[in-house]
C-alpha cells in the first residue's frame, strides 16, 4: 500500500503532475464527446431529407427502367 501512496505523491509534485494529466484527459474527452454529438445531431437532422430523397428516387426508378447511378 505504501508504494501506491508514494506513487501518488509523485515525489512531492503531485499537485502538478496529476492536474496536468487530468486537464489533458478532460479536454480531450470533451473534444471527442462534442464532436461525436455534433455528428449524431447532423445525421439525425439529415434523416428526414434522406428518406424523402430515397422515396422520390424509388418513385422515379419504378417509372423508369435504366439504372440510376448514385453519385
Amino acid at each position: 500500500m505504501a508504494e501506491f501512496n508514494e506513487f501518488l505523491e509523485m515525489g512531492g509534485y503531485a499537485a502538478f503532475v496529476w492536474p496536468s494529466y487530468l486537464v489533458s484527459a478532460v479536454v480531450l474527452t470533451l473534444l471527442v464527446v462534442f464532436s461525436v454529438r455534433r455528428l449524431r445531431r447532423i445525421e439525425r437532422d439529415l434523416k428526414p431529407f434522406e428518406e424523402r430523397r430515397q422515396a422520390r428516387r424509388n418513385r422515379t426508378r419504378s417509372s423508369r427502367t435504366e439504372p440510376l447511378n448514385d453519385t
Partner: protein
C-alpha cells in the same frame, strides 16, 4: 431546373475511405495512449534534476507538437482548397481547427503546470509558451472568421486566405519571439527544453506523440464527416426551399 449539385458537395470517395480507416485509427489511438501512459507514469525513471515533474512532459510536448502540425496541415489543405477547389480540403481545415486549438490550449496549461515547480510562477514569458499563446490566437481568429460568414463557400476562401497569411507569418513570429526571449532572458532560468532527453524518457514521449497523432486523426475523421453531412443538410434544406 435544380441541378443535382450534390456532386459538388458530396465527396463519397472521402467518406468511404474515412469510415474504412476510422476503426483502425481509433484502436491505435487507445492502444498507444494506454502504453504511453503506462510507460510514462510507471516505467520511466524520475529525472535527477526535475524529479517527477518531468512526467508532465509526456502530455505537454505531444500537445505542443500537435498544435503546430495541425496548423501546418490546415495551411496545406487551405492551399489545396484554393488551388484545386476541392470541397473536402476546405472542410478538413475547418474540421481540424478546433482540435488544433485544444492541443495548443493543453500545451499552454500543462506548460504552466510544469513551469510552476521550476520557476515558482504559473506563467513565465518563455519563448515557446509565448509562441504557443500566439498560435492559440491564430486558431481563435481562424474559427471566429468561419463563424462570421453565412455563405459557406465565401467563408471557406476567406478562412483559407487567413490561414495562409498566418502560416507565412509563423516563422517570423517564432523568430522574433525566440529572439525577444533571449533579449530579456532572466539569468538562471532553465528553458522548457530541460535535460538532454535520453532513451528511457524519449520512448514514452514518442509513444505519446503517436497516440496524440492517432487521437487527432480519429477526432478529425468524425469532424470532417460531420462537416460534410452538414453541407449536404444545408444544400438539401435550400433545394427543398426552391422546389
Amino acid at each position: 431546373m435544380a441541378i443535382d449539385f450534390h456532386k459538388y458537395a458530396n465527396p463519397t470517395r472521402f467518406l468511404r475511405l474515412a469510415s474504412a480507416v476510422f476503426p483502425w485509427v481509433t484502436g491505435a489511438a487507445v492502444l498507444l495512449l494506454v502504453t504511453g501512459l503506462y510507460m510514462g507514469l510507471f516505467v520511466a525513471p524520475e529525472d535527477y534534476q526535475q524529479g517527477e515533474t518531468v512526467r508532465i512532459m509526456f502530455v505537454h510536448v505531444p500537445a505542443a507538437w500537435m498544435g503546430m502540425s495541425v496548423y501546418t496541415m490546415m495551411a496545406v489543405s487551405a492551399a489545396a482548397g484554393l488551388i484545386w477547389k476541392h470541397p473536402v480540403a476546405d472542410l478538413s481545415a475547418k474540421a481540424a481547427a478546433p482540435i488544433g486549438a485544444c492541443f495548443t490550449l493543453l500545451a499552454l496549461v500543462t506548460g504552466a503546470l510544469w513551469g510552476q515547480p521550476m520557476w515558482g510562477t504559473y506563467w513565465v514569458w518563455d519563448a515557446r509558451l509565448t509562441s504557443m499563446l500566439i498560435l492559440l490566437f491564430l486558431y481563435l481568429g481562424y474559427m471566429a472568421l468561419w463563424g462570421s460568414f453565412d455563405d459557406h463557400s465565401k467563408a471557406a476562401r476567406a478562412a483559407a486566405i487567413l490561414v495562409l497569411v498566418g502560416a507565412i507569418n509563423i516563422p517570423v513570429i517564432k523568430f522574433s519571439v525566440d529572439w525577444w526571449n533571449t533579449l530579456h532572458q532572466p539569468a538562471s532560468v532553465a528553458t522548457l527544453d530541460g535535460p538532454k532527453i535520453h532513451g528511457s524518457i524519449l520512448t514514452p514521449l514518442l509513444v505519446m506523440g503517436a497516440a496524440y497523432m492517432m487521437l487527432f486523426l480519429s477526432v478529425f475523421i468524425i469532424r470532417v464527416k460531420a462537416e460534410i453531412m452538414d453541407r449536404r443538410l444545408q444544400i438539401m434544406k435550400i433545394s427543398q426551399l426552391q422546389e
